[in-house]
Amino acid sequence: MKIHRVLALVIRHLYLYKRSIPRLMEVFYWPFLDLVIWGFITIYLTKFKGTLPDFIAFLLGALILWDILFRSQQGLSVSFLEDMWARNLLNIFVSPIRPIEYIFALMLVSIVKLLLASIVMVIFAWLFYSFNIFLLGLSLIPMIVNLVIMGWGLGIITMALILRLGQEAEVLAWAVAFLFQPVSAVFYPVSVLPPFLQTIAQFIPASHIFEGMRIIISGGGFPMHDVLWATALNFIYILTALVFFYWNFSIVRRKGLLARIGE
């Protein structure tokens, strides 16, 4: 891994945001809007459901954490699309760069974007609804790390599919994370799912994280069991994703599609 090549690509993607208001909006505007709408919905709902005191915390916590997963996936797949749209992939892949360096660069880009968006959400959740995500304390760190890694896993798989299937698969960049949302138990506990979906949820890292979040919020202490499960699953996810990417990359090279992507 050559760090100058990784940094070159990180800088290339950060340059994009310097002059582009729509792209900056994508980083700040949607998380902000999500927060406003969901925040008011939860306030409204709690008026009727006085019996669920943690309701706002559950929903806003879920919203912020889900956004982290979604954005870490997007950080990879949308950045990849940017290179495709700019007809820049060939310039990149005729350089000595290795696929893993390219992926690693996009991971760093996703962290930067994620930090910016999270700061906005955290501040407004606190300002508008006095919801302080840091109440989750240090236990937040392993949870966020796990969500980011699952997002990367999905992002790498998305990139592989777009490489392989071409521009028609673009929509996956936005859709893939949501495919996992129902079984990630983001806004409701795993127990409300029908049995076969519960079984699937067991194998989704995010479901353990969101279960864990609810345990913490209702004062149940650090959800060690869930965090360990999520970590182990994520390890498998990211490895599988990388293998899947490399496998597709070699097929794409065999089919001569690298040069045709984006056409």
Binding site: K2, H4, R5, L7, A8, L9, I11, R12, Y15, L16, R19, S20, E82, D83, A86, R87, N88, L90, N91, I92, F93, V94, S95, P96, I97, R98, S250, R253, R254, K255, G256, L258, A259
Partner: protein
Amino acid sequence: MIEDVNMLTNPIVEISGLTKIFNGLRAVDNISFEMYVGEILGLLGPNGAGKTTTLQMLLALTTPTSGDIKIFGLDLERNREKILKEVNFSSSYVAMPYSLTVMENLMVFARLYNIKNPQARIVGLLKDFEIEEIKDKTVRSLSSGQITRVCLIKALLNEPKILFLDEPTASLDPDIADKTRRLLKKIKKERGISILYTSHNMREMEEMSDRIIFLDKGRIIAMGRPEEVRAQFKGESLEDVFLKIARQL
């Protein structure tokens, strides 16, 4: 002539039995050739002849179905990273991120290739190509000819030993195309770099190339100095030869 000694002794690219089959279509069909240090080699042939596919295999973008590619005496597949550091590529069908300025884009590639003193190098090349004034413009605001030149500058950033160019002059006006050809020749002469390029402009081929390779349906049907190929097919010009081959074979 020193050049001829190099030509005889120093193949920088060696291709043998190179074949690419796409779903049964023989896009490149068992071609073998060598390219020598300091040589400009022109690849020509009708649409679909296999020129781009050949270039892409030489850049490790596409894996050959069979055959060997050696660059700098090294097997390409096993030494991809080492070889790609020393070569570069440009084409009229690649572009660069539109919302970045010319300078920003070129700095990204300078970093990618780990170039010392990138700023000075970029400014020098911008001057060579007479586009110094667009350095702080975004790529979006450039004409296609200007983008082509920026891409050519990108391809020269790492002082490549071999330059692969796919229709490099396709979107340039005659004046700029002429200047670009001169510049490439000058660079070749001063730095001894080798250039493998494709073009549909037969005059350009004759003017630029030390040797040409004529591809048709994936096969080499003629190879040699332009005048040799002309004589072989009894054509008055390369264009004449092209038309004969394209319409008869």
